[in-house]
């Protein structure tokens, strides 16, 4: 049981970590830009993002399944029932969460800060970095929420990954499988591992959230 467990844990970390990484790289700058810009149609974009924050994972899984299936427009990629499909689905789940909460965190910052940063000599990149630094607690909360949304989701992972032993089985889908088999003890143990993993990641991020920051 040891080897399969570690394989499931490794795949869980890999899929969730990569999905969260992509969601962070795309979502944090998008959230910052949305918070500090005004353009025609912004309200619609924000409404779409907030709606996306409540996307049911199983619906995301269904859409990604259809896109990646043989007749879907992404069918030629042959990603269905691979970790790549699971990562793609989890990015779609996490991205609106990270973007929306980053935007909310950046909007809470006094808009005059940018002017004062420029007055101190900041170029646009230094200004964005400082604003991000001020929004750091909110951005970390956005990452935690994004992580929470995907580490425990079952619907999308099951639909597009297929829960294939040694290939696409992650902790959440393993819990479902063992429950269906009647192995409640093992299912509970896997659930405990999932909770422990979530706790460790949250604790690490919260520690970072509380650490002092060097400016400039």
């Amino acid at each position: 049981m040891i080897d399969p467990f570690w394989e499931v844990l490794r795949l869980t970390l890999q899929v969730t970590g990569l999905a969260l990484g992509v969601a962070a790289v795309a979502g944090i700058p998008s959230g910052l830009i949305l918070a500090r810009s005004r353009f025609r149609g912004r309200g619609v974009v924000v409404a779409v993002i907030y709606t996306g924050m409540g996307l049911p994972p199983v619906v995301v899984g269904l859409v990604v399944y259809l896109l990646l299936s043989r007749s879907g427009i992404l069918g030629p990629l042959a990603w269905l029932f691979t970790p790549r499909a699971m990562i793609l689905a989890q990015i779609i789940i996490a991205l609106p969460v990270v973007t929306g909460l980053t935007m909310a965190a950046a909007e809470a910052i006094n808009p005059e800060l940018s002017l004062q940063l420029r007055s101190l000599g900041a170029n646009p990149a230094q200004e964005a970095r400082a604003v991000l630094g001020e929004a750091q607690p909110g951005v970390l909360a956005a990452l935690l929420a994004g992580f929470g949304a995907i580490i425990s989701e079952v619907g999308a992972a099951m639909l597009v990954g297929g829960n294939i032993d040694g290939q696409t089985r992650v902790l959440s889908t393993a819990v479902v499988l063992e429950t269906r088999r009647g192995n409640f003890g093992l299912a509970l143990a896997l659930g405990g591992a999932l909770l422990t993993l979530a706790f460790i990641v949250n604790a690490l991020l919260l520690r970072f959230q509380g650490s002092p920051r060097r400016l400039g």
Partner: protein
């Protein structure tokens, strides 16, 4: 081109939302000069500071900085020759010392000794390593002043930098402004409602009323023999606004 001039404003006008806010027909500010801007609230003093900071473009007219007409948006290299202390300064997360060093670090200069000495002279030496957030309003103001002074810019724009400060700290800031001028030829434009401060600190005092420059003169003439009756009325406190 006069190398002695830092700013020259000609027919400078700024409107907000189509409404006239500021109109300066002619204003020259010399290198190393301390110019005090006085006038009632809403007279355009802060707007003039923002224009001099090159962060905003005028609606019309020209502004020359160091002998060259400003092209908007002004580039970082030219903007870095000017810094400003805002009326309501904002500090960043981090320590007091980190905040004071922020502008200098952006320019690749590390001047912790200078920053610490500035903090000492403003009565904040014991707070250097403290977080910037639980500070009082007066302390935030002094940190912001130290942050601007630490950069070493040739031009300082100060928007009511000593409001809410006790007399000892007001004098401390004035002493630094004078020493920056004596030692480094720093040009300072200071907005103040403290008329005695304008008299003891400035080389020239300028009155703005309703967005117009009424009079600019050296302090003795401005306060004792103003040329414009509106200046006299303002100084007497007769003016209702």
């Amino acid at each position: 081109m006069n190398a002695d001039l830092v700013f020259r404003a000609k027919e400078l006008r700024k409107d907000y939302g189509g409404a006239f806010t500021l109109g300066i027909d002619d204003l020259e500010i010399r290198r190393g000069e301390i110019l005090a801007l006085v006038g009632p609230t809403g007279s355009g003093k802060s707007t003039l500071l923002r224009l001099l900071h090159l962060l905003e473009s005028p609606t019309s007219g020209t502004l020359e900085f160091e002998g060259r007409p400003v092209v908007y948006p002004a580039g970082v290299s030219i903007r870095r020759r000017i810094t400003m202390v805002f009326q309501r300064p904002l500090l960043l997360r981090g320590s007091v010392l980190d905040n004071v060093l922020y502008g200098a670090r952006l320019r690749g200069r590390l001047t912790p000794d200078k920053a610490l000495s500035l903090l000492d002279s403003l009565g904040l030496g014991n707070l250097a390593n403290a977080p910037a957030f639980p500070l009082s309003g007066g302390e935030i103001q002094r940190v912001a002043v130290a942050r601007a002074f630490a950069i070493g810019c040739p031009v300082l724009l100060l928007d009511e930098p000593t409001a809410n400060l006790d007399p000892a700290h007001v004098h401390g800031i004035e002493r630094i402004i004078r020493s920056l001028r004596e030692e480094s030829g720093v040009t300072t434009v200071i907005v103040t409602h403290n008329l005695p401060q304008a008299r003891r600190l400035a080389d020239r005092v300028a009155l703005l009323l309703d967005g117009r420059l009424i009079e600019a003169a050296e302090p003795n003439r401005f306060f004792d023999h103003p040329a414009d009756p509106r200046t006299m009325a303002f100084l007497r406190g007769d003016m209702v606004w």
